[in-house]
């Protein structure tokens, strides 16, 4: 199982802050997870569309699309940050 966290605008549009997911075994990295979630359609297809500025983290470290996802990981998707 993998925990997927959604922050800020994504949390609002997708209607959840986090979820536990059993991922298909062939799903290996952040890009693949994003594409898989997009298949849910509606706001998922829209918010996670290619070209949308979505950032990701794996186990609370900034991650690029090719970052590998393992069982037990926490993956987060969020918009570009606006603190300070």
């Amino acid at each position: 199982m993998v925990t997927v966290v959604y922050c800020a605008r994504l949390r609002e549009s997708l209607g959840k802050a986090s979820e536990q997911l059993a991922l298909p075994p062939e799903l290996r990295d952040v890009t693949a997870l994003r594409a898989w979630l997009r298949k849910r359609g509606g706001p998922w297809a829209e918010e996670l569309a290619d070209g949308k500025p979505v950032r990701a983290a794996v186990n609370q470290e900034v991650a690029h699309g090719d970052a590998v996802i393992k069982d037990g990981d926490e993956v987060a998707f969020f918009p570009p940050v606006t603190g300070g």
Binding site: C7, R9, Q60, A76, F78, V81, T82, G83, G84
Partner: protein, 152 residues
């Protein structure tokens, strides 16, 4: 704790006094305070809500502070960032850096702030007369952070 995320306000004078207490090596303290403005992108802002990603926030700011300490000759750094509901005039963030001399303290303080703005997982939502909206990231913040690659 050198990195604190909290909803309560902070007293910069008290925080800086605690940071430098008993340390006679210190000859310079540089600090920055970010404050909520009453307007953004041409609209009045009545309220700001700050959200963060607990765990990653502390981790990413600690990394930024460690980078600053490795790069400049400074002693200690403190970062306090508020979350939750804030209003114009409220303080948002405090960065304070101690060092022997001002040059390194100034540079490290500005670096920490520029990196925090582009790397620490905080998001602002503002309420304006047009409704509430998530604040968009600014290209100028990326440029401010990027210039540290060229320097030093």
């Amino acid at each position: 704790m050198p990195v604190r995320i909290q909803s309560e306000d902070f007293d910069a004078g008290r925080e800086i006094a605690a940071l430098r207490q008993g340390d006679a090596r210190i000859g310079a303290i540089a600090s920055f305070i970010g404050v909520v403005r009453d307007a953004n992108d041409g609209d009045r802002v009545a309220e700001l809500t700050l959200e963060h990603y607990p765990g990653m926030t502390e981790k990413s700011i600690t990394e930024i502070v460690d980078q600053a300490k490795a790069r400049w000759n400074v002693f200690e750094a403190l970062v306090i960032h508020r979350v939750g509901q804030l209003k114009p005039l409220d303080q948002i963030v405090l960065v304070a850096v101690t060092g022997a001399h001002r040059g390194d303290a100034f540079a490290a303080c500005e670096f920490i702030m520029d990196y925090l703005k582009t790397r620490a997982p905080f998001w602002k939502k503002e309420s304006t007369p047009l409704g509430s909206r998530w604040v968009e990231a600014r290209a100028s913040d990326d440029i401010a952070a990027e210039r540290w690659r060229l320097k030093g």
